[in-house]
């Protein structure tokens, strides 16, 4: 059994997330769930002038899932749709510094939710 130990940065985003909540008049809501881990994430995005003006999340999940959600919002706010669509889970992990190997899939959840939101936006 691998030990799970989080960095200060992960704990910071988990304990004090800046971007949790809903956007009532969101332009798109992305959803993804990780059956394996059981984590479920919803991402609300608001677009203005071709840029993501705001992003908020609601996540049922472990510390890695909540921290990844928060970082993902942080990463996409202010980006053009084009640029945001290039954000991957690697960017989330890089931003957090490290994630325990067993928890990498929780960051993938962040990316999947984002891609789902952008797909819905294009429709």
């Amino acid at each position: 059994m691998e030990k799970i130990e989080y960095s200060k940065k992960v704990m910071q985003h988990f304990l004090h997330p800046k971007h949790f909540g809903e956007i009532k008049d969101a332009d798109a809501v992305g959803e993804a769930g990780n059956i394996k881990c059981g984590d479920i994430m919803h991402l609300y995005i608001k677009v203005a002038d071709g840029k993501i003006s705001d992003a908020k999340f609601k996540t049922l999940g472990c510390a890695a899932a909540i921290a990844s959600s928060d970082v993902m919002c942080e990463l996409v706010i202010g980006k053009t749709i084009e640029k945001a669509s290039k954000v991957t889970n690697k960017d989330i992990v890089d931003y957090l510094g490290v994630l325990p190997t067993l928890k990498l899939h929780c960051s993938v959840l962040g990316m999947e939710t984002l891609h789902d939101a952008l797909k819905k936006l294009r429709k």
């Binding site: 059994m1 691998e2 030990k3 799970i4 989080y6 704990m11 988990f14 304990l15 997330p17 949790f20 959803e31 394996k36 881990c37 059981g38 984590d39 479920i40 994430m41 919803h42 999340f57 609601k58 996540t59 049922l60 999940g61 472990c62 510390a63 890695a64 899932a65 909540i66 067993l102 928890k103 899939h105 929780c106």
Partner: protein, 384 residues
Amino acid sequence: MKTIYLDHAATTAVDGTVLKEMLPYFSRRFGNASTLYTLGHESREAVERARKQIAKLINAEPNEIFFTSGGTESDNTALKGAFLANAGKKHIITTKIEHPAILQTCKWIEKQGGRVTYLHVDANGIVNPQSVANAIGEDTLLVSIMHANNEIGTIQPIEEIARICREKKVMFHTDAVQTFGKIPIDVKKMNIDMLSASSHKIYGPKGTGILFKRNKIWIDALMHGGGQERGLRSGTENVAGIVGFGKAAEIAMQKMKSEGEREKKLRDKIINGLLKIPKSRLNGHPTKRLPGNVNISFEGIEGESMVLMLNEKGICSSTGSACSTGSLEPSHVLLAIGMTHEQAHGSLRLTLGRETSAKDVGYVLKAVPEIVDKLRSMSATWRE
């Protein structure tokens, strides 16, 4: 910040009196218990005193107690030892909710050509004795069923099960790691053939345990060497550890009744308090339950997050969530009692002990609802 330790099922702190008893055996009384001079005799006497203290707690004979390195080794010795010593019989019966020390040993036995039946349990985690009787066949060697479960605290009807085994002439082993010193055990009255116990769960040192084995039961040794522990477990005795375990057993026996009643009251206070949180449920049996065990699931949130947030408030707890098991599978125990992945995901275990106070309980009853609220406010699936 004060630490409120509510993970006594994982391990406990060594009792002060126990530690004091142990200390001389690390230095002044360092003798090897197998030697002929006085220094060695002192160690031998200390080991035999501990054997008596432990035997007394479960109404065994001292020569039926074998010292091991802990619960895991005792479980391995009981199952593998029985399997290796009885070439003709290849069938073992156990349950789906055993500790990995039993389950992984059974997996190994299957690889060696053994056959294992993993019995179902009901929604409270209880094994039906009739299902044991039904599973016993011609080549059944051994039934191994834990006395109480380490996660949900459910206490099994082992007396009834052991009686069935005795009648059918099948060996009965119980993993009593969670009950030894906490609730009464009488190996004679209960027809127990083998029993595993561990020191560090009862305020003794880590790395020491016992296997109780009735003299009529034959099993092979796993450790071969100098023939200590009447050949069943070679290796120079861990005298200090054994002395500590003996003292811890003696104290546990004195305190069992009053401490059990005290913990039960605090346990029920926590359970009743936390069940006031909407969409929460108790896991395990409401009354056939270890005095110190609380296990509750909260809908819409995940256990690891709860444990980490409780840690921020100084509370040590545990969970059966997939996100914390290290295997990405929720606890096998919670799944076996019929919980969904999501319910298992949201489980929180608090296990009380001697130093848990009514004040601690008050603090927990304030902290947990706050954390549940906070996590639900962030949750994707929670709707008020």
